[in-house]
Symmetry: none
Subunit: 204 residues, 4 copies
DNA sequence: TATGAATGAGATTTCATTCAT
DNA sequence: TATGAATGAAATCTCATTCAT
């Protein structure tokens, strides 16, 4: 078979995978993993139920594939690859980016997170593919500033998790609507407040 | 019927409810809500499957009842009712207490949290029964210090969620074993680090 | 044991049986046999669930006992024992009596009739205890008039079933409300119409 | 999709529906509605249990579908659409036809009738689909003859129900074997006897 | 004898997965 | 490769019956 044909075929396969994955994401977001049926996923994706199994081994495999997909999107954070020298700018860009990611893909991530608790393999995959790629560069950024004497000698591991936990929980409230007071808090103010906190503890 | 007999019967009912609830908690923790079967819950609780339904309307009701149970345990935080004047002591006691709660009941809370995403009623119940009773007093504590000029004019809502998000995510890593470096970090050090952060941003 | 005590005890037992039977009749009437639960029957009868089983072998036994109970009530038809010489009066009294019986006990009989189709023993019991005691005297009444030359030589068996079928179906419509036109038809008119029919075919 | 393919598919679906419906009819006839299990219905129909639910929403839906099926068969009574001018012929054909229907489908109708008492929707459906299509034309036939002076001014509603009740109860005895004397009564004689009765009351 | 909590068999229904077309 | 009907295991829940008190 010619390479061109091969490529074309591979692209078709990839396109179909994505098509199914998007359908699954929609349904998982609405129903959660367990209540989502393959029938509804197939309908949402515009394929037959059996077709799903030509591209994925089983229903759980859809979840694992979604982790990969999100990982790909998530890695594109140039903020981390070429971070600003100004810590305020760095943290601010970072938190805004994470807020945006959660806003755009939070509904996709939620059902994955839900399964974390009962699926060790998925837990590991999410940790490796999604959390570590973000946390590691932040830790290193903090460590470098500590080494250069610019930052106080904080624990980068703990502080990085605190940073992520802070933005995640605040964003969750911002988006869930469970606390009406969050309607009065702009994203800017929210991010600024968290950035200030991290600068206060880190900057000398 | 005599009051004594009444009380005795009520106690029996309560004991049996708790027995079933504990069985459910075990299985939910191991399998998650959906993969946990009533058959296994019954076996774990040491009762027949049908007996579950003499005490709970349905499987989901077990989850709701667990929220109530946790709420009761959670509310007993005297730290919040009569908080220390020393902010460092206050935050430190608070975070240790939350760490302990997550350590003791995290495996019970996890499957509840997982269902949050696809069950609005449960979400509201958890917010009202578990999160608000802790968050509100903290917010008020911070607000009072701001009013008295002791704290900087931070946003108590955002800061409180940041505090909770920080301890929750760090505790999750501490307990999950997903990141081996957490074995080197003592709980003391972890809590101190987060407390320092909050003092840095709040204290003048 | 003294006879008096014996009698008293027997009366108590009989009273309790009737109490339970009445509760069962209520619930059977509302839910049908299968959807009626022993729990609800017990509540309706004002006894505990277990008590039912001290007086009846099982749930189906309640239905059989109800047949007996209705048979007792049904037999008290003096119209049949000492029938009027005037056929018009005889048929008229008879049909009014049957209408009244169906009105009073139709809701109790309905669930029994429903089970007739799948329970041969019950079918036989109802035939022997309820239908035959009424049908036989009517057949004999007709046969006697035929023999005396007062009636035409009709088939008493067929005619008797026709008579019963006529009053039963008309009463069913009269009571069920499924056909609103029956609201305009008085019971008198209905009975008269059916009586006329039987006189027309029988009387010379 | 081509029309042919469409038609073929529709036919397959219809065939499978009928196949399941027939299985259900068999089991309902033998056990009654409630004692019939989906497992046995599936076995009788030669499909898997789950397949039933691809064609019917639930078990009760099978009963409703059977009403429809019977209604279709029942309506084909040309006797009613183009009735004979001779009342004797009309009633005779009609009763023979009803006898035949009960003989052929009585076992299917019985469990439906049993549920009538506890299922108002089913009651209404049976009335509308099965009873009214037969009763209405008969009433109109009688009314027309009354208007033309050929019949006496009887009540067509009551008389029609009497007619139906008469044939139904007699047929029930004829087919059930509960009364051995019915073995001596030919269907001809039975029908003739009932026809005579209706002619006696109606014809001038 | 009365109770009612406990039982567990059994019923209905769902749905991931297979496979013939 | 795509389809979707068929499958049947498995899950939740009900409820007649038992039995210790």
């Amino acid at each position: 078979m010619l390479d061109d044909a091969m490529d074309f075929k591979e692209q078709m396969v990839e396109a179909r995978r994505t098509q199914i994955l998007m359908g699954a994401a929609q349904v998982f977001a609405k129903k959660g993993f367990h209540r989502a049926t393959t029938k509804e996923i197939a309908r949402q994706a515009g394929v037959a139920e059996g077709t799903i199994y030509n591209y994925f081994d089983n229903k759980r495999d859809l979840l694992m594939a979604m982790v990969e997909m999100l990982a790909t999107r998530s890695i594109k954070v140039t903020i981390l690859e070429d971070p600003s020298d100004d810590p305020k700018e760095f943290f601010s860009l970072l938190l805004h980016d994470r807020y945006q990611l959660l806003k755009d893909y939070g509904h996709i991530m939620a059902p994955m997170i839900a399964e974390i608790f009962s699926d060790p393999d998925l837990r590991e995959a999410i940790y490796q593919s999604i959390l570590m790629p973000v946390a590691d560069p932040i830790e290193q950024y903090i460590q470098r500033r500590i080494d250069s004497g610019e930052f106080k000698p904080v624990n980068p591991i703990v502080i990085t998790r605190a940073l992520i936990g802070s933005i995640v929980l605040n964003t969750a409230f911002q988006l869930s609507g469970v606390d009406p007071r969050y309607e009065m808090i702009s994203v800017e103010a929210m991010v600024d407040q968290i950035v200030d906190m991290f600068l206060a503890v880190t900057k000398k």
